[in-house]
């Protein structure tokens, strides 16, 4: 693998670092949270700009509305909580105040997916991408490591319009460039290959890179594409890769319904049908456990991505 893990860091830490940097650059950036300042690593921002920070208490619905109102006055609000509580719990508020109102609100969504770990299924949303993808006007970003999350947060602040920014809780390998420029809507070819396209997002980008290593030992050259922006989807990059490789794996830390897998299948079915294997959480809830243990148990680790790739190749 051409990437080096420079040390485990959480993607929520990337958000905290990005929020601070965005706030330094632009005085209109404000932060809101529903009693989760530390969980979202917002402390540096809060210490530097206490007058631009709004503690909403445990009231996520109100937080979304307040953020929308502030956005109207030209502020760039980042409203943060756990992924489940800032999507499922407040879907209607986001639909009305952010998406339909087309307000410049950034939804900062931490602890997404099964790797939230020990807190269990009440907190492990595997449906949030589906909910947010369904909303007109909404940009959906799911970065893969600390550095990319930081860059994506800065890019979200610069972009005008609703953004759903999804990141996670556990420390994970940090392997993308430190001062990268994040381009919303652009897929990133992480590894070039010719036998199978592994289209992945979030924490599963690292798992997919490891899978590519496993496959390489078998003589299979996998192309790994990081879909950091799930909506709008970089269909051009996907189609170019599939044209070259002829079969596809889509890997995501999310359930099947409405996820990246369905989005990619939708593109391929209507333009360039190819065999697709899906690596996702299926149709169920998670449970307590350590992140790595859960990824393995739910079929979301490198071994499972590699197995899916072999299956996809066999179907060519």
């Amino acid at each position: 693998m051409k990437y080096t893990d420079t040390g485990k860091k959480d993607t929520r830490g990337g958000f905290g670092a990005g929020l601070y940097e965005a706030a330094v650059k632009n005085p209109n950036v404000v932060g809101l949270t529903a009693d989760l300042t530390g969980s979202l690593k917002m402390e540096k921002f809060v210490e530097a700009y206490p007058e631009r920070f709004y503690q909403c208490g445990i009231g996520e619905a109100n937080m979304i509305g307040v953020a929308a109102g502030m956005a109207l006055t030209g502020k760039i609000p980042f409203a943060g909580s756990f992924a489940e509580f800032v999507t499922g719990r407040v879907y209607d508020q986001i639909r009305q105040e952010v998406a339909y109102g087309n307000t410049n609100v950034k939804i900062a969504s931490s602890h997404a997916g099964i790797t939230l770990g020990e807190d269990g299924a009440t907190h492990q949303t595997m449906e949030d991408i589906a909910l947010m993808r369904a909303l007109p006007n909404m940009v959906v970003i799911n970065p893969c490591d600390f550095n990319q999350t930081k860059a994506a947060t800065i890019a979200a602040a610069e972009y005008v319009g609703p953004v759903y920014l999804r990141f996670g809780r556990p420390g994970v390998p940090n392997f993308t460039p430190e001062d990268q420029k994040f381009e919303i809507g652009k897929a990133i070819v992480m590894e070039e290959g010719k036998d199978v396209s592994i289209i992945c997002t979030g924490h599963l980008v690292w798992e997919s890179l490891k899978a590519a290593d496993i496959l390489a030992e078998e003589g299979i050259k996998a192309e790994v594409i990081d879909i950091a922006t799930i909506k709008p989807l970089d269909t051009e990059a996907i189609l170019a890769s599939v044209k070259k490789c002829g079969c596809v794996v889509v890997a995501e830390e999310h359930n099947n319904a409405g996820g990246l897998g369905e989005a990619v299948c939708g593109v391929l079915a209507t333009t360039a049908p190819a065999p697709v294997e899906l690596v996702n959480g299926g149709d169920g809830f998670g449970q307590s456990g350590a992140p790595a243990e859960l990824l393995k148990a739910y079929g979301l680790d490198a071994e499972h991505v590699a197995a899916a790739a072999r299956k996809a190749i066999a179907r060519k």
Binding site: V30, E51, R52, Y54, C56, G57, G59, A61, N62, M63, I64, G65, V66, A67, A68, G69, M70, A71, L72, T73, G74, K75, P77, D92, Q93, R95, Q96, E97, Y100, G101, N102, T103
Partner: protein, 279 residues
């Protein structure tokens, strides 16, 4: 006195507009629109600092208003139009395909005067609080107003917002509750179970003013007092009569979301003086 008479005239025309709009549309919400007509008339014509000519959604250097009870579109549209936000003839398009006057207010169609979409109840107080906070950051001394229904206050988000606004001392936020005690399924005091919301707002830390919502002079005084309050947000509980101004619509939930027949509309209009010219 001249001011009060003038406002009463406007309110009468607004009530005519409401009846004519919903009758032509064949659907819509006349009851609450009529009960809040005096509040809205006073607010937009004698209280708010606003200018349709320079209006934008950013509410820069103007007061802002959010209709939290979005189903009261008819009264809102009439008021905006009569204030000069858009041509009065456009009222005839309410709820018709392609209209800017959607069944519930929206921003997507670009109707001037609308800050946020509303209709999914319980959300406007939060948005209004957000605009008010933005104004505070900008050191813009203007106020943000929002009209709440009383049935709407059964929504939990209202109380998230109430606690938040008091905790953050958002004193440039003034909410008005149209307390007509009617909602779709019956009386608010039965369906939701709360007779008066004043003490609840007070417990959250709000300044509470209770007023006769059809007494123009009392409304003017209430708004003046609200603007003077420092350190906390104010809610004006306006005691109103559902369907006010049309005898057969008064005091009943039946006219919440029901429109009159042509004949009933004529009966209603006979009770409402045409003061500014029908659209």
């Amino acid at each position: 006195m001249a001011q009060v008479e003038n406002l009463q005239k406007i309110a009468s025309q607004v009530r005519r507009d409401i009846i004519r709009m919903v009758t032509a549309a064949g659907s819509g919400h006349p009851g609450g629109s009529l009960s809040s007509a005096d509040i809205m008339t006073v607010l937009f014509n004698a209280v708010m600092d606003h200018d349709p000519k320079t209006w934008t959604r950013s509410a820069k250097n103007q007061d802002a208003f959010i209709l939290s009870a979005g189903h009261l579109g008819p009264v809102y549209y009439s008021i905006l139009s009569r204030c000069g936000y858009f041509p009065t003839e456009e009222m005839a398009t309410l709820r018709k395909f392609g209209t800017r006057l959607q069944g519930h207010p929206c921003t997507e169609k670009g109707l001037p005067g609308i800050f946020q979409p509303s209709g999914s109840l319980g959300q406007g107080l939060s948005a209004a609080a957000g605009i008010a906070l933005g104004k505070k950051l900008d050191k813009d001394p203007h106020y943000v107003y929002t009209l709440l229904g009383d049935g709407e206050c059964e929504e939990g988000q209202i109380w998230e917002a109430a606690i938040f606004a008091a905790n953050h001392h958002i004193d440039n936020l003034i909410a008005i509750q149209d307390h007509n005690n009617q909602q779709i399924d019956g009386q608010v005091s039965n369906v939701g179970g709360v007779t008066t919301y004043g003490p609840i707002f007070e417990a959250c830390g709000w300044n509470v003013i209770t007023v006769d919502g059809h007494d123009i002079e009392a409304l003017l005084a209430a708004f003046a007092a609200a603007k003077k309050c420092q350190g906390k947000p104010t809610v004006i509980i306006a005691e109103t009569v559902m369907g006010k101004g049309v005898d057969f619509m008064e005091g009943t939930c039946k006219w919440h979301g029901k429109t009159p027949s042509e004949e009933q509309a004529q009966q209603a209009l006979a009770q409402l003086e045409e003061t500014l010219g029908d659209y």
